[in-house]
């Protein structure tokens, strides 16, 4: 070890050491000469004798120089020096190879950032692999919110569960005086929420079971809110804050960077999305505890219990529970790993992009391999000369490898730099509902990944031409070969095929995006401003107050100049709202119990007009006919009308919902839950004034122009009614609709970018190969020109070569398209794996690109001069 250090150190200051050694050796020789002189020899004789006895200074120095280093390191350094010299001599090759590599490494590293952040990295909780989400599950509803009854019994009796908690979203208003109140994202939780996740509050305490009762106003703040709004006051615990205009006692502060787990039923998304945690009430009536399902559940499995064992235990538990509470229904407790639930659907998108990125890398690899083959051929003479001068095969291969290593290192560094620059851009492009997007970051793992793929790519690319073994034989005639051309043609055709596959992928996604855009979604998102309003429920206002308040606000908004219509509802289209209830149709007795439930919603007059929903039959809500005290009315959607009133007699029928009979006054056209859904769930709306809900969403349709320009006027209108009421989540409806389409758009963008890059690379590949062929055939072309071939004929010959390559590649890509289409299946809407436009479009793109790439070489072929044939060698 010490010797190694000494040698490394010696290598560093070798220049000086060698100079010293030279002096030492010279001294040795001089002493030798002196001793000769002492023995009476002449100066010449003494010098000759000394040289014979001690050797030449230069020879001795060479051996000493070698001894001062580490042999293999010296060899490697020599190789790298050779490689560097060779690369700088042919700068074009090096620059192109590094750029190609850097671009594809950057893309793949960005994708790796996503893969790592979204899928690979463990969730930021203690032993996250033991965390599971629990659902109530029935044949009709696979993953339904959990009933409190299940939670209570699981908490006390289920052995395989170490701890369990319920949670549900509950937004609040931080009351801070007129115009300064701000909406807060809140989640009500049971006592073990922080225990389950293994991250207890940093200040104060978590909730205890005593807190989980009505009118207990204890709150736990997020560390962010504590810092931002309370300046990190260390004495915050025990103080009062005003939430929803009531005093709440702060009992704790959550750990910094704490991430909420997210959930599909009334929950903020996973991440640092929560401002306050509130007690989850458990002191409800027996009915609400056993029969209502309105909570998300999270649990930690015991360390010694396998998931399969836990599932068995839960099945046994569910059966026993059903026997104890027969009226509660046939619900099974279902368990899913937390990570799957958090990353769920987005994982597909990420893996799809990983696949596409891999294709880009393959194209880059083929491209660089093509460059290497060309280079190996153009260096035949040089290599043959080196071989003849005594270099062995391994030394020649080593120089090639060293070159590729340099390219690989440069490509990795540049690629990583580009990825680092592209990271903020990627964060912006990322659809909002990609979970854990906040965890996407530059990590050492990602850097290693970038270096790894870069080196693998160049080494594979470098090995392909070194299979060109004949180059390395000294005896080979030093001429270019047909063999290299075939090899390069194969590489270019391969690139074209892969680029075609990426084009097809982009076309598939584009086509299905267009199909989605052309679809009748049942509402008109353009020209609508939307926002959320959570009216504080302090002092439990009388029934009707809330409805009247909303109606007053609605009218003030409608009075704003430029507003065409305004209305409020429990939810906006494509928002993921999923509240359901059962109902009974008056006059039908036999199937009462089997009547499936429907989505319940509430709306004010003006809401359907503002969102542009279509009236199928009957009428919309009207201010004069659907207010408080007037006959209870109901609007249903077409799906419900078709399902429950197949004879078209929905309007006029009476349905019992929320314990009261209501008459259907209108039928509204269907809106799917997400843009690409095939089915629409049955749904109805009650007038908001007859059945109050909070919070609600407002939709404001403008007459013309940008709806966002009315934000200030609308805010003023709302605050003219209640100056402390903050508007939350202000966005245009179009923006919300785009958010629902965001994952598709994201995948489409990236695919388009990848396809463009792959086309560019294969275009460059075609160009390079044709230019090389034209150069090689220069003499032949000149002879043809001399014999009377026209310029057009010469150009056509080269173009034909290019088109031939494209055709081979296109044929390959046609074989791959249906495979690609079926892999993309889940992302396609109304587009078949044998989509004609795609199948025709991708090869067409390839042909166009190859024609464009052939133009340059073809032009230089037309410039073939008959005289060249005579003059050239």
């Amino acid at each position: 070890m010490r010797e190694w250090l000494w040698r490394v150190w010696a290598m560093v200051r070798r220049g000086r050491l060698v100079a010293e050694k030279r002096e030492e050796l010279q001294h040795h020789l001089d002493m030798e000469i002196e001793s000769g002189l002492r023995q009476g020899l002449s100066a010449d004789e003494a010098r000759r004798r000394a040289r014979w006895r001690a050797g030449l200074v230069s020879d001795g120095l060479e051996d000493t120089h070698a001894a001062l280093g580490i042999p293999w390191l010296d060899g490697a350094a020599l190789d790298l020096r050779h490689a560097w010299r060779a690369l700088t001599r042919t700068r074009g090759f090096g620059v192109v190879a590094v750029l190609v590599l850097a671009a594809s490494v950057a893309i793949n590293t960005l994708i790796f950032f996503m893969l790592d952040g979204v899928v690979l990295r463990p969730l930021p909780y203690a032993s996250p692999d033991r965390l599971v989400r629990l659902y109530d599950s029935s044949p009709a509803r696979a993953k339904f919110p959990m009933a409190i009854g299940h939670f209570l019994d699981l908490d006390t009796s289920e052995a395989s569960i170490e701890s369990i908690a319920l949670y549900a979203g509950r937004d609040m208003e931080l009351t801070a005086g007129a115009g300064r109140s701000r909406p807060l994202t809140g989640v009500s939780i049971t006592s073990d929420y922080f225990t389950v996740l293994g991250r207890p509050p940093i200040l104060g305490r978590a909730f205890t079971n005593a807190d989980l009762r009505k009118d207990v106003r204890h709150v736990i703040l997020s560390e962010r809110l504590w810092q931002e709004h309370f300046q990190g006051d260390p004495a915050i615990v025990g103080t009062m804050v005003r939430l929803d205009r009531e005093p709440w006692t702060v009992i704790g502060v959550a750990p910094p960077g704490f991430q909420h787990i997210g959930g599909d039923y009334r929950s903020p998304p996973q991440g640092e999305s929560v401002d306050v945690w509130l007690p989850f009430r458990l002191d409800l009536e027996e009915e609400a505890i056993r029969y209502y399902h309105f909570s998300n559940a999270i649990a930690r499995l015991r360390a010694d219990v396998s998931p399969a064992q836990a599932r068995d235990d839960l099945a046994r538990f569910s059966t026993a529970y059903q026997q104890r509470h027969r009226k509660a229904g046939a619900w099974q407790v279902r368990m899913e790993p937390l990570l799957d639930e958090v990353t769920g659907r987005s994982r597909q998108v990420v893996w799809l992009l990983v696949g596409a990125g891999g294709l880009v890398l393959l194209v880059a690899c083929a491209n660089i391999a093509g460059l290497c083959v060309a280079r190996a051929v153009s260096r035949r003479k040089e290599l043959a000369l080196r071989r003849a001068l005594g270099a062995n095969r391994w030394q020649l291969v080593r120089v090639g490898l060293a070159e590729n290593l340099l390219i690989g290192v440069a490509g990795a560094a540049l690629g990583l730099l580009l990825a680092g620059i592209g990271l903020p851009l990627l964060r912006q492009l990322l659809p909002a509902d990609i979970p854990r997007a906040h965890e996407i970051a530059l990590t050492p793992t990602a850097a290693l990944f970038a270096a790894g793929i870069a080196l693998a790519t160049v080494l594979i690319a470098g090995l392909l031409p070194s299979g060109e073994s004949r180059v390395l034989d000294a005896s080979t005639r030093v001429t270019g070969g047909r063999d290299a051309r075939t090899r390069r043609t194969a590489l270019v055709a391969g690139q074209i095929a892969l680029a075609g596959l990426l084009c097809a992928g982009a076309l598939f996604l584009l086509r299905s995006y267009q199909e989605l855009g052309a679809r009748d979604h049942g509402f008109k998102p353009a020209g609508v401003l939307t926002f959320q309003l959570a009216v504080p429920r302090a002092g439990s206002p009388n029934r009707g107050d809330l409805g009247r308040l909303i109606e007053t606000i609605r009218q003030r908004i409608e009075d704003v100049p430029g507003v065409a219509s305004a209305g409020a509802s429990t939810n906006l289209p494509w928002s993921g709202y999923d509240e359901n209830t059962n109902f009974i149709i008056a006059g039908r007795t036999s199937t009462d119990r089997d009547t499936p439930g429907a989505r319940y919603q509430a709306a004010t007059p003006g809401y359907f007009e503002a969102t542009g929903m279509r009236l199928v039959s009957g009428r919309l809500f009207e201010r004069a006919r659907d207010g408080q005290g007037q006959p209870l009315s109901l609007i249903v959607n077409d799906a419900l009308a078709r399902r429950n009133f197949p004879r078209g007699d929905a309007v006029g029928s009476v349905v019992r919902i929320f314990g009261a009979p209501r008459q259907i006054v209108g039928v509204i056209g269907d809106i799917k839950d997400t843009p690409a859904d095939l089915e629409t769930p049955a749904a109805f709306w009650v007038p908001l004034e007859q059945q109050e809900f909070n919070p609600i969403f407002f939709a404001v349709r403008v007459r013309t122009g940008d709806p966002a320009s009315l934000t200030a006027a609308v805010t003023a209108a709302v605050q003219s009614v209640d100056p402390e009421l903050p508007l939350a989540d202000v966005r245009t409806l179009e923006r919300r609709a785009l958010t629902a389409l965001a994952p598709r758009r994201f995948a489409l963008w990236l695919f388009q970018a990848f396809a463009a890059l792959a086309l560019l690379l294969s275009g460059a590949g075609i160009y390079g190969l044709l230019a090389y062929i034209v150069r090689q055939r220069r003499k032949e072309l000149s002879v043809r020109a001399a014999l009377g071939a026209s310029r057009a004929e010469l150009g056509r010959m080269v173009l034909a070569d290019g088109v031939k390559m494209a055709a081979i590649g296109a044929a390959g890509c046609l074989l791959l398209i249906p495979v690609g289409g079926s892999l993309l299946r889940t992302f396609l809407f109304n587009v078949h794996a044998f989509d004609l436009i795609t199948i025709a479009g991708a090869p067409a793109a390839l042909l166009i690109v190859s024609l464009l790439a052939s133009l340059g070489p073809a032009r230089s072929a037309t410039r073939s001069n008959p005289a060249t044939a005579l003059r050239d060698d």
Binding site: W6, E23, L25, H27, D59, E62, A66, L68
Partner: protein, 110 residues
């Protein structure tokens, strides 16, 4: 390697000889070591510079000898090598091994 062919001196042997020379004479420069070896071997060992100096580098790298620049009696700058404590230990070990080996060999060859 080619140096060993030329001189017929094995690497380990050369190391041992240099160490022994320095142990006997104290600090010496390269030429003095070569001259001494030639003298005690009765002219059988003539060290080429290409053998001697890489050998000195090797011993220095291993920390068995330490070189310093100093001025000779004839007031010329020369690099003097000196046995280190570690080198002395190594010499004892290698010397013991060598003697044991030669005694075995001589018994076998008798």
């Amino acid at each position: 390697m080619s140096n060993e062919d030329r001189t017929g001196v094995l690497q380990g042997t050369l190391d041992l000889m240099i160490l022994q020379t320095l142990a006997t004479l104290g600090p010496r420069h390269g030429y003095a070591i070569a001259a001494r070896l030639e003298q005690v071997s009765g002219g059988a060992i003539q060290l080429n510079m290409g053998t001697l100096y890489p050998g000195l580098v090797r011993l220095e790298a291993r920390g068995w000898i330490a070189g310093t620049w100093a001025v000779t009696e004839s007031s010329r700058r020369a690099r003097f090598y000196e046995l280190t404590a570690k080198g002395r230990k190594q010499l004892e070990k290698a010397r013991g091994e060598w003697l044991r080996m030669t005694s075995i060999m001589s018994k076998v060859l008798e």
